[in-house]
Amino acid sequence: MDRKELENKVIELVAVSYNRDASELSTETNFKEELKGASVQMVALVAEIENELDATITLQDAAACTTIGDLVNLVEEEM
């Protein structure tokens, strides 16, 4: 999977977990300011990443990501 495919896949998983339309999201989307999710949504996202991308990341690391792009970097390191 190349970088662009991974970005699209992570955006798709963020959209599912946060109940958003993927077209509203980009790698620049800020979790705290724009998505404003509860921790349960981040848990759902970590589980989706684990299921779909075979990458185990911790919730603490995921929660420390400012943007979706940061999360893509984290997933890329774990794959």
Partner: protein, 334 residues
């Protein structure tokens, strides 16, 4: 009969299976053994195939325990099949299999699959570890998105609506809840006391104002939370905003609350506005009121998870195991 005696009697009447993922820990094994031997619970110890030998070496009768070898492929497969077939689980087979290498996640997978009623941990794992695992494996109660806790205080000389007892929350988990989270804490607290103590909850949301006597953003948060809680659960008696004395004292309530209220003056559940108040509040009750405080009891999850303090003595661990088992028995009935 004291409140703890009543809870102990309930546990004995319907002992629940409790999973111990930190079973090799000496204090945990002792607490599991003694509560199992005395008939309060059925202890299920998770570990490798050396666990029965370890129990015997420590002088425990192994017949008290059910042992689960987390490396037993056939048993693990059975749990995974049950777990992934459930509609509200998050992890798929491969990811679950990987997570279940950790006994904490294994225990919670067993709990979700209905093999045990409670997971009891926290002596080797941190509170954060336990809460994260529970969010992922067990999930939150429908309509609730906040993990919180309540404590049960037994205050000598206090003559409240439940005698010397008062439930308070959250004094341990949720640091600075917003209105939505505060509403969740109140709703969960009502359900916890109903499950554990068979009380009809009367829940007061407290701050430094009674029905508009004060103004400011700290009060606005509480009144907004109250509105959310009442809209979400009109079946529960949740009222406010009250000062603490107006919540628990009929005399003060008669002066300050000039409208009908099922809660004012006779609250049996107090919801603090944030953890600063909650922590100071429980310490005041303990120091000046010479109260015993039981808990924290975690709430908000789909089933009962207990996180004990890492410094807890065996006697306290046993009390919390039994309280968790009674909550689980009630939740399983519902």
């Amino acid at each position: 009969m004291s409140v703890l005696d009543e809870i102990y009697a309930k546990a004995k009447a319907n002992p629940q299976k409790v999973a111990f993922p930190e079973a090799t820990n000496e204090k945990m094994m002792q607490a599991a053994y003694e509560t199992g031997r005395d008939g309060y619970i059925i202890p299920v110890l998770l570990g490798d195939d050396q666990l029965p030998k370890l129990a015997e070496e420590r002088g425990y009768d192994p017949s008290v325990f059910t042992f689960v070898d987390i490396n037993d492929e056939a048993y693990r497969k059975g749990i995974i099949d049950k777990y992934v077939a459930m509609p509200d689980t998050r992890l798929k087979e491969k990811a679950l299999n990987r997570r279940m290498a950790d006994p904490l996640y294994y225990a919670m997978a067993m709990q979700k699959a209905g093999e045990v009623g409670v997971t009891f941990a926290g002596i080797d794992n941190t509170t954060g570890d336990v809460l994260l695992a529970a969010q992922m494996m067990i999930g939150m109660k429908p309509g609730i998105s906040t993990i919180s806790s309540i404590g049960l205080c037994d205050i000598p000389g206090f003559k409240g609506s439940e005698g010397s007892l008062l439930a308070i929350g959250d004094s341990a988990v949720c640091t600075n809840p917003d209105s939505e989270q505060l509403a969740d804490i109140a709703i969960s607290a009502c359900e916890t006391v109903r499950d554990l103590l068979d009380w009809e909850p009367r829940c007061a949301m407290v701050c430094y104002s009674t029905l508009g006597s004060g103004q400011g953003e700290l009060i606005d948060k509480v009144t907004a939370a109250l509105k959310i809680a009442q809209e979400k659960r009109p079946d529960l008696a949740i009222d406010g905003e009250f000062q603490f004395d107006a919540a628990i004292s009929p005399e003060v309530a008669a002066k300050k609350v000039k409208r009908e209220s099922k809660v004012a003056g006779k609250a049996n559940v107090i919801i603090w506005p944030d953890l600063n108040v909650g922590n100071v509040g429980v310490k005041l009750i303990q120091q000046f009121g010479h109260a015993d405080a039981y808990g924290p009891m975690l709430q908000g999850f789909n089933s009962v998870v207990c996180d004990c303090s890492r410094g807890a003595p065996v006697s306290e661990i046993k009390g919390n195991i039994i309280i968790s088992a009674v909550r689980a028995a009630k939740m399983n009935q519902n």
